[in-house]
Symmetry: C2
DNA sequence: TGTACATCAGTGAACGCGCGTTCACTGATGTAC
DNA sequence: TGTACATCAGTGAACGCGCGTTCACTGATGTAC
């Protein structure tokens, strides 16, 4: 029963965690939650599985976050942020599109775009979760707009919004269909069209 | 306890349903399931609620469909089909885009596009459900392609796929964000861009 | 510096609840004669 | 056409299970003196 993987250091059986260790645990919970929610959906993963993935019991989630819903809200923000980091080095829209609409991204929703992974579940989420999602979406828009060479200001943001919608929609469709050929085709024709426009 | 709304005709308390009545019940279950799954997600609605919405008990779902999953598979096909019917009279891509990317559609997921409503839940569904989704997606592609004036054959289908992806992605984003202004903006800029292309 | 003790991250048992599914039963329908 | 009975759509109680949450407890950490 006593797993304690989160605190198994120095070989002792049990050890109350220091503030530093608690902060590490929190980060680990967020990383695993951000992955699991994207892989299995908000309702597809329970508090036991979330705790276990971080090497802790479910009770620790309540110490750190208070409820599953508040963990979800923080995990959504975390997931967006981690995904953005993966694209931090990208300096042009073409590269962004290629990377986003890749088979590598399609096969790995757990480390991928949050919109593509759980976008259609958002209307049914709490206010806190939707606020986190909305704020992150606005940041995505601004980041995408910065990569677009033509236009400026509001119109550039408009273009960024349509690009984000197209990429997310294409990835959702590509992951949803049970036909490899069609899935590949959705990715490649969307890539081609976006790179023609950008 | 004894509700029997599905069979309350002629004022009698109980009456075994005829084959005709059973077929009507089946249709009613499918209509309600197609609505509820789109409104609440595949995991967001249970067999009790599904039965009750059709005026029956959950047991009747098992007589008719055998399991919740098989009902979901049939409901997905049904939902796509009913949505397509709403667009049956549309004769050009511009009108289709306007109707799809409308606030009316955004506010009514239960009678709207299945991709927009539960698209990102599809990768986690059973083979039967995904097959129903995939078949319906192919039909959507063919129908959309038929509305596109330029190009032909495979290239026209390619354009249709990108349009479908953009519309679904835009609707998912517009429904997900907790900011009316941004939501309206996503719809209008996507409409503008698609009508420029089509 | 050493001692006494409050703090609080994490544990694990327990809770009420709703889930999907099973099953014995009901009784009008629909059919065999 | 009339009678006897098999069929089967739908009922409702029961099942085992996993869910999110609560809570008394543990014990090293971190602090007050």
């Amino acid at each position: 029963m006593n797993k304690l993987r989160g605190a198994e250091l120095k070989g002792v059986e049990w050890m109350k965690v220091s503030k530093e260790k608690a902060a590490e645990n929190r980060e680990r919970i967020l990383n695993e939650a951000a992955r699991l929610f994207r892989e299995k959906g908000a309702q597809g993963v329970g508090v036991d599985a979330l705790g276990e993935a971080a090497g802790l019991t479910h009770g620790s989630l309540y110490s750190q976050f208070g409820s599953k819903d508040r963990l979800l809200a923080e995990a959504v923000a975390h997931a967006f942020s981690r995904f953005a980091t993966k694209f931090g080095a990208v300096k042009d829209a073409d590269t962004y599109v290629s990377k986003y609409l890749s088979t590598e991204h399609r096969e790995n929703p757990g480390s991928g775009c949050t919109v593509a992974a759980i976008g259609s579940e958002m209307p049914r989420q709490s206010e806190a979760v939707r606020r986190a999602f909305t704020d992150a979406t606005k940041r995505s828009m601004a980041r995408m707009a910065a990569l677009l060479p033509r236009r400026r200001g509001r119109e550039r943001e408009d273009d960024a919004l349509v690009m984000l919608a197209t990429m997310a929609g294409a990835m959702i469709l590509a992951r949803a269909v049970d036909d490899r050929e069609l899935s590949d085709r959705i990715l490649s024709v969307s890539r081609a069209q976006l790179q023609r426009v950008a």
